[in-house]
């Protein structure tokens, strides 16, 4: 206890020096608090802008969507996914979304944009979209033909709330471009320039309609009750949405094209005869595989072909196969083997291209043509599922795609068959042409496992953001390190001076029986007291300043990067967390002890006689 008292009183022996070093420690601690809380606040603000502005904490996609944002790479049954995640612990909101690239046009200009189809009621459970509206208003229902555009886009296209904007885009099935105009309901400022310039919100029903995405979703964004529970929520979502074994199977096939073997993989349902609906979504996943060169689909239906000539009617059971002529020709080469009569308008033409651009055609197997007694140019009826479709015979073919050896088949355009017999896109088989040298065994597993879902949190979605925040942290650490060094040198210098001035006194203390470790402790105590007083003062001042900023906010727009360049009032609210305070206090304490080690050791090791001879 006496050593505490002596250490405390020793601080008063040179008040000016003590005050200067306490002030230095106080300023250092103040600077550490301010720098720490400022960077934390900027990082938090940046994160908040990104998470609450658009991405949410977690997103669910089809595997691969995050890297390749294609409309077709979608969850084909969005409602089923939503039903599974609803009610998950820690989930406070979810927002189903559809994304599609489009060209936005106004009378004065055009700009590439990303259209984001959102549910107007659910989106605000994840983002603060309603608060972003700067003019006009937010959506009132999910099927209004209106959009919200960012302020930078509005500026570029010279449009405002109430004006009309046109979009040009491709839908789910590809083919013809869709062009449609929408009224601008509101203009938003998300605080992030990329979004202000390139994002257009559209009610999800409208997006489904124009992009042919009914029931399909590209993304479900999710909000967690507390960021601390993020991992728990992610684990729960993964448990609820396991990437089950696919109900598809892959079988290798081989074709010979231009005397070269072509390796194909045929992907079918494990249940014989079951159709794969919306095969475009699956084909999109397969296209992303580095070993796949081409993906196409075939639809095979049992049908009856009917031909009537001069009152004589013949009918024949056969398989009707829907193909995509351009792609099918590159898979099996059948269009180059079709026999076309010389008097046909198709004679000498590139058959696959001609047929791809036309509808209402059929190519018959030679055996079928013979039995029906038809020749090129005749029109036959294909009857299936109680419906019939008239098609004109373009030519005949000995062997069909796949294993159609018997000649009892008819080949037509798949879109004709979808429309007439299925009512939507469907395939019996998705055929993948593999690149040369690709291992079909490995690839079939890769293809089937690429059909699951991806559950990614914000760090995985925006690794740049994590890097930016950690870069900020490093700057912060470097600054703190500099401040620590200044404090350490200040304290060490003070203590060295103080010890050298008292050499004789330490000699006396040792002479009358004080042990070296007691002297060591006393010098360390002096240093710790200096640090404690400095820290308390610095902490008090920081607390007052940061408390004020925390309540009233600190506008940093004038001296920091503006979180994306979008302008707007970038007010941060620095706060001192317990971790901040503890880190600073503990560090300053450790520094006080470390910087006093040398002078304390000097004091305790002084030879008594030598010390006593000093004046």
């Amino acid at each position: 206890m006496e050593f505490f008292k002596m250490a405390w009183r020793n601080l008063g022996r040179n008040p000016r020096r003590t005050i200067v070093i306490i002030a230095a420690v106080a300023v250092g601690v103040w600077a550490m608090c301010i720098v720490g809380s400022y960077y934390d606040a900027v990082s938090a603000k940046l994160l908040e802008t990104v998470i609450f502005g658009n991405i949410g904490y977690v997103q669910i996609h089809r595997l691969g969507y995050h890297k390749n944002q294609s409309l077709r790479l979608c969850m084909t049954d969005g409602a089923a996914v939503i039903n599974k995640i609803k009610g998950a612990p820690h989930l406070t909101g979810y927002s189903p979304r559809i994304y599609n690239f489009a060209l936005a046009r106004s009378p004065s200009s055009s700009q590439g944009v990303m259209i984001m189809g959102i549910d107007p009621d659910l989106e605000p459970t994840v983002t603060r979209i309603k608060s972003f509206i700067k003019s006009g208003s937010y959506f009132q229902s999910d099927d209004e033909p209106v959009v919200l555009i960012g302020k930078s886009l509005a500026h570029k296209l010279r449009l405002g709330a109430g004006d009309k904007i046109a979009f040009l885009m491709q839908g789910f099935s590809g083919g013809q471009d869709v062009v449609e105009s929408f009224r601008i309901k509101g203009v938003f400022d998300s605080g992030f320039e990329d979004w202000n310039r390139g994002l257009v919100y559209m009610p999800i029903r409208q997006a489904e309609r124009i992009m042919d995405m009914k029931g399909r979703l590209n993304e479900i964004a999710i909000m967690v009750d507390d960021p601390k529970n993020l991992d728990a929520l992610k684990a729960e979502l993964k448990a609820r949405l396991p990437n089950r074994k696919s109900d598809l199977k892959a079988e290798p096939e081989q074709e010979t094209l231009d005397n070269k073997a072509v390796h194909l993989l045929g992907i079918r349902s494990k249940e014989p005869g079951k159709l794969i609906l919306a095969p475009e979504a699956i084909a999109e996943s397969f296209k992303n595989n580095p070993n796949s060169e081409l993906v196409s689909y075939r639809l095979e239906l049992p049908a009856t072909a009917v031909f009537e000539r001069s009152g004589r009617k013949r009918s024949l059971e056969l398989s009707v196969i829907g193909v995509e002529p351009l792609k099918e020709d590159r898979l099996s080469g059948i269009f180059s083997r079709v026999k076309v009569p010389e008097n046909s308008w198709l004679a000498g033409a590139e058959l696959d291209k001609e047929l791809d651009a036309n509808q209402g055609w059929v190519i018959l197997g030679e055996a079928a043509a013979e039995r029906l007694g038809v020749s090129a140019g005749d029109t036959i009826l294909i009857e299936a599922q109680g419906k019939s479709l008239p098609l004109q015979v373009a030519g005949t073919l000995k062997r069909g795609p796949g294993a159609k050896e018997d000649g009892l088949f008819a080949i037509s355009g798949s879109s004709d068959l979808w429309k007439e017999f299925v009512g939507q896109s469907a395939a019996s088989e998705i055929v993948v042409r593999l690149k040369e040298g690709a291992d079909s065994k490995e690839t079939d597993q890769e293809l089937l496992s690429s059909l699951g879902l991806d559950i990614l949190d914000w760090k995985e979605l925006y690794p740049d953001m994590v890097m930016l925040i950690s870069a900020g942290d490093y700057v912060n650490y470097i600054l703190l390190f500099c401040i620590y060094i200044i404090i350490a040198v200040g304290i060490a210098n003070t203590m060295v001076m103080s010890v050298f001035e008292r050499v004789r006194e330490f000699g006396i203390l040792k002479a009358i029986g004080t042990r070296p470790r007691q002297l060591f402790f006393m010098v360390i105590m002096e240093s710790v007291m200096l640090a404690l007083i400095g820290m308390a003062l610095g902490g008090l001042v920081s607390g007052i300043i940061i408390g004020y900023w925390s309540r009233h906010g600190l506008d940093v727009a004038w001296f920091t990067w503006d979180l994306g360049g979008g302008g707007g009032p970038y007010v941060i609210h620095p706060t001192l967390t317990l971790v901040n305070i503890l880190t600073i206090v503990v560090t300053a304490f450790v520094i006080a002890i470390l910087s006093a080690l040398y002078p304390a050791a000097r004091a305790s090791r002084l030879p008594v006689v030598e010390a006593l001879s000093k004046y």
Binding site: E2, K5, M6, R9, N10, G12, R13, R504, E505, I508, L509, K510, A511, I512, G513, T514, R515, P516, Q518, V608, V609, L612
Partner: protein
């Protein structure tokens, strides 16, 4: 065996390869209750001898026993303990701890000895009152005169009832009146309480108080006489 026995002590200081014999074969004995003055000119080795006897310094050769303990064989930590329990020091320049009051300075030794708070407080006040310093207990050294400081230093040197008090020119910084008063006080402590004093001086007035005079010259004892 004598209370203090110094046997064939040599002390050689080496500086820039030049050896100086501060003490050259000192033999010396002291009994309990002595009041002995060590005198001689400056540089004769008085302080060196006192430092070696008090365990502050080590001889180049020779041995020292204090009440049957060979102090020249002790390590640093044991020497610290010896100084704390068996020896009291009075220095020429008073050497009180500036941040402590008179009472705290006296009490300090007892704190190091882990004497309970109440007892050490009582003992310290008693000693200060005995030495006529009752009014000064709460004064810091800077608020006292030289004589008062040296009396507090004596109080500090005897509060733990040491076996030997070593005083290195205790009156050198005092005027003659104050020096008399201090010597009266030390003499009285020797008479009344039997405390053994060994002090160095070259002041004839101080030597008058001594019961035994030991003369040191060029590191050797040249004269040792007991006065009646």
């Amino acid at each position: 065996m004598a209370h203090l026995q110094v046997q064939a002590i040599n002390k050689v200081y080496k500086e820039h390869d030049v050896a100086t014999n501060a003490l050259a074969g000192v033999d010396f004995k002291m009994e309990k209750g002595e009041f002995t003055a060590l005198f001689g000119p400056s540089g004769s080795g008085k302080t060196t001898l006192l430092n070696i006897i008090g365990g502050l310094d080590r001889p180049s050769a020779g041995k020292v026993w204090l009440s049957d303990q060979e102090i020249t064989a002790l390590n640093d930590s044991q020497l610290s303990r010896l100084r704390l329990f068996k020896v009291g020091f009075v220095f020429q320049a008073y050497n009180l701890i500036p941040v402590l009051t008179a009472l705290e300075n006296v009490e300090y030794i007892l704190i190091l000895q882990h004497v309970p708070r109440k007892e050490r407080r009582e003992r310290s006040i008693k000693i200060l009152e005995q030495l006529g310093l009752g009014q000064l207990v709460n004064k810091k050294p800077t608020e006292m005169s030289g004589g008062q400081q040296q009396r507090v230093a004596v109080a500090r040197a005897i509060v733990h009832l040491p076996e030997l008090v070593l005083a290195d020119e205790p009156t050198a910084n005092l005027d003659s009146k104050t020096a008399h008063e201090l010597m009266d006080m030390m003499h009285k402590l020797n008479q009344d309480q039997g405390i053994t004093f060994l002090f160095s001086t070259h002041d004839p007035m101080v030597m008058e108080y001594a019961k035994r005079l030991v003369e040191l010259k060029d590191g050797k004892i040249t004269n040792d006489q007991v006065r009646n």
